[in-house]
């Protein structure tokens, strides 16, 4: 199963993860 997120955010929004990284519920994915 997969979850796709699509969202509008300011141009300076940055993901704080990298492809292939294991993540858990509540873990930081990105921030402005």
């Amino acid at each position: 199963s997969t979850i796709v997120l699509v969202f509008e955010a300011p141009n300076d929004f940055e993901f704080t993860v990298h492809s292939g990284q294991k993540v858990k519920v509540g873990e930081r994915l990105g921030d402005v």
Binding site: S1, V4, L5, F7, F15, H18, V25, L29
Partner: protein, 397 residues
């Protein structure tokens, strides 16, 4: 062999002209097929026609009755296991798929009647701390891909894209995209709420109008539901909705804007998280947001493993999925749980009417049924969710 390799003389023959011509034809044909696969075909409404594209083994998979197989898988895994067997069987499963048994609730494996129940297990309180960030992970899994949406195309893997409109659906009058539209009624009585009560409940010196500029004074009149949820009091509901409103810096609904609309200075971003079979399979809210509507796209149930994502184009717009659309403090926000062969059932806690992976004739690809959640919170015009609040999950079959 060594002698044959070293001593046999090499003798070159000219190829017949016909063989060379055939080779050129084959190369041209291969180029044409690849070009056709990359071309986007549109229907009379300008919507992309979603078709199965990929190497031959993808087409073999496409010929299998994946939905029936998925339902059979779900049925088999819902069968009750003997109590004596449960700890051994589930421990073996946990070992094989890397499940952490220390964080599950209940921790006694004998309390899980079937593998399906274990698959949809809960976690103990506090084992998933919530980061202070604009966006947090909605699930346990692997970050497959992320980036910005370019020209209304979302990148599935490097070099393979799919249409954003096909993923989320678009509203076009007269188009076959929208089959039915219903208002999901919620068991909340909001008709008696007023500014005073709101302030009292929150114990703070502000009124609802001060908090939210765009609140209509007579909002209570628009509500259909009249039964208060027994497990959730009016007070809890108000506090919950107010916390979402405060956190997202409440803005009124976004009207019917196309999916590609963004405010000046903003961009559309995407992220794809893959849940492996051993992962905790409930999903949570990735931020403070309001879900205004859901669109259920019935579709295929291909595997969504990274292996398939690299080979099957349009995978996420071919598969059955539930697009939850709404807004957060920066504008549009969408979350799309996508089903797969083993997990065709998508559950959304605040939408009791939603049924996925059901038997029966499927509508054409790209069509969907829609429900709006405006009755959930007349103030916020949707279902408010706090960061990491449980939203639903994937079930076997």
């Amino acid at each position: 062999l060594i002698n044959a390799w070293t001593e046999t003389p090499t003798k070159w023959y000219p190829l017949p002209l016909a063989v060379g011509a055939l080779l050129l034809v084959a190369i041209q044909y291969r180029k044409k097929v690849k070009r056709a696969q990359k071309e986007v075909q549109l229907d009379e409404n300008g919507m992309e026609i979603i078709k199965l594209k990929g190497p031959w083994h993808v087409h073999v998979l496409g010929a299998l009755p994946l939905r029936n197989m998925s339902r059979l898988w779900g049925y088999v895994n819902s069968l009750e296991l003997p109590v004596w067997f449960r700890p051994h069987g589930l421990r073996l499963y946990a070992y094989a798929f890397g499940c952490n048994l220390d964080e599950i609730e209940p921790s006694d494996l004998r309390e899980y009647p079937s593998l399906g129940a274990f698959f949809y297990r809960k976690l103990k309180d506090g084992v998933r701390p919530v980061a202070k960030a604009a966006l947090v992970s909605p699930a346990d899994g692997t970050m497959l891909h992320f980036g910005t949406v370019q020209g209304s195309r979302v990148e599935q893997v490097k070099g393979i894209t799919y249409s954003l409109d096909a993923l989320l659906g678009v509203e076009r009058p007269g188009s076959p995209s929208s089959i039915t539209s219903t208002v999901v009624e919620h068991n909340r009585d909001m008709s008696v709420v007023d500014d005073k009560e709101f302030a009292n409940v929150n114990g703070i010196e502000y009124s609802l109008d001060q908090l939210i500029d765009a609140v209509p004074k007579k909002f209570g009149a628009q509500v259909d539901a009249s039964i208060v949820e027994p497990e959730r009091s009016m007070q809890d509901t108000l506090v919950h909705d107010a916390s979402v409103a405060l956190e997202m810096g409440f803005k009124p609904p976004l009207d019917k804007r196309p999916n590609t609309y963004v405010r000046p200075g903003n961009s559309l971003f995407f992220a794809v998280i893959y849940l492996a079979p051993g992962d905790y399979h409930r999903f949570h809210s990735p931020t403070a947001w309001v879900v205004e509507k859901r669109r259920h796209f019935m579709g295929e149930l291909f595997s969504v493993s990274p292996f398939m994502a690299k080979r099957l184009e349009n995978l996420f717009v071919l598969n059955e999925r539930v697009a939850l659309l709404g807004r957060w403090k920066y504008g549009f926000f969408g979350m799309v749980p996508v089903g797969a062969t083993n997990v065709g059932s998508i559950k959304v806690n605040f939408d009791k009417d939603l049924r996925t992976n059901v038997r029966g004739k499927r509508p054409p690809p790209g069509t969907y049924t829609e429900a709006v959640y405006s009755a959930a919170s007349p103030i916020l015009q949707g279902q408010p969710l706090t960061p990491a609040e449980e939203m639903g999950g994937f079930r076997l079959g």
